[in-house]
């Protein structure tokens, strides 16, 4: 009788243990991540200025000239970007046109002796410097006709930079 009682207690203990294992709790974790990039800022720093031109005389502005156009870009350091341009085929003065062609270069530092490219050729790949800067220089050539009408001719060069 004594033995039987002990076994019964043991049996109840085992049943209780079995019931305890029927509910199990588990934890697991994952990371949530994001990378904030510096937004791109483009500043039109200097206009491309041909100054006075004369009928029938072609005039060019080199990239190294103080009269060359320049854009300053800031963004995420050491990051590739894509540059696209909208450039006119002519400068205009009222209804009169003055044909123009463009050249350009980009550099991580403020130096026109960088990588040359043709703005009208489509998207151009570039890379922001280690401090997140990019400089784009724009030169060009205007070709006045011999009968070019006198006047102030203007146009707009638009640059878009994206990551």
């Amino acid at each position: 009788m004594y033995t039987a009682t002990k076994v019964a207690v043991l049996a109840l203990a085992l049943v209780a243990a079995g019931a305890a294992t029927a509910q199990a709790q588990n934890n697991a974790s994952i990371n949530v991540t994001a990378a904030v990039q510096q937004p791109i800022t483009v500043v039109a720093a200097t206009n491309l200025d041909f100054g006075n031109v004369f009928p029938g005389v072609v005039k060019g502005i080199t990239l190294a000239s103080p009269a060359a156009g320049r854009f300053s870009v800031t963004g995420q350091a050491s990051t590739p970007v894509s540059m696209t341009f909208v450039v006119p085929a002519n400068l205009t003065s009222g209804l009169n046109n003055l044909p123009i062609a463009f050249s350009a270069s980009w550099n991580g530092i403020n130096d026109p002796a960088g990588s040359g490219f043709t703005p009208s050729a489509g998207a151009t790949a570039a890379t922001l410097s280690g401090t997140g800067t990019l400089f784009v220089f724009v030169g060009g050539t205007v070709t006045p006709s011999v009968g070019q009408v006198a006047g102030a001719y203007t146009g707009t060069v638009q640059m878009t930079v994206v990551y």
């Binding site: 033995t3 039987a4 002990k6 076994v7 019964a8 043991l10 049996a11 085992l14 049943v15 243990a17 079995g18 294992t21 029927a22 509910q23 199990a24 709790q25 588990n26 934890n27 697991a28 974790s29 994952i30 990371n31 949530v32 991540t33 994001a34 990378a35 904030v36 990039q37 510096q38 937004p39 995420q76 990551y163």
Partner: protein, 151 residues
């Protein structure tokens, strides 16, 4: 003397299968917002196979389990900067088939009672990151924990 031995044998026969059941939860994939920009919110939906968070669950068919998330309010970045996280009522999904395309949506902010049809299931999680307009550039991280109580 023979009766007590029979009782012991019966008890082991009942308790051993319960102890041998395999249940668990594993973190499979982090919730990744990727590149974000200051002032521009980024949403990752729970059906995004590349960027949603994923946990895999293991249980016996027919089992039920409560799923409870511990969700951070922010991610932490450079110099202690924080980025706000938001989880909505439709941002978690339970899939008894482990298919990201077959989920039952639930609110990750409150416990959810799931039922297993097989012995494996998955939980998917989306959310929204809200970088401020002056958000400091850099990498941000946080931890999401899923607690599963199997019944």
């Amino acid at each position: 003397m023979r009766v007590p031995e029979s009782i012991i044998s019966l008890c082991f026969a009942v308790s051993l299968p319960l102890a041998g059941q395999s249940t668990g939860v594993t973190g499979v994939r982090g919730l990744a917002f990727g590149t974000v920009f200051p002032g521009v919110s980024r949403v990752v939906v729970r059906t995004d196979a590349a960027n949603s968070g994923q946990f895999d669950l293991k249980a016996h068919p027919g089992a039920t389990a409560s799923l409870t998330f511990l969700l951070p309010a922010v991610m932490t970045g450079p110099a202690g900067a924080t980025m706000t996280l938001v989880f909505g009522a439709n941002d978690a999904g339970f899939s008894a088939s482990q298919s990201i395309n077959s989920q039952v949506a639930f609110d990750p902010r409150t416990p959810y009672l799931a039922t297993f049809s097989g012995n494996r299931a998955s939980v998917f999680l989306g959310g929204t990151a809200n970088p401020s307009t002056a958000q400091r550039a850099g990498n941000y991280t946080g931890t999401i924990t899923l607690t599963v109580v199997f019944f």
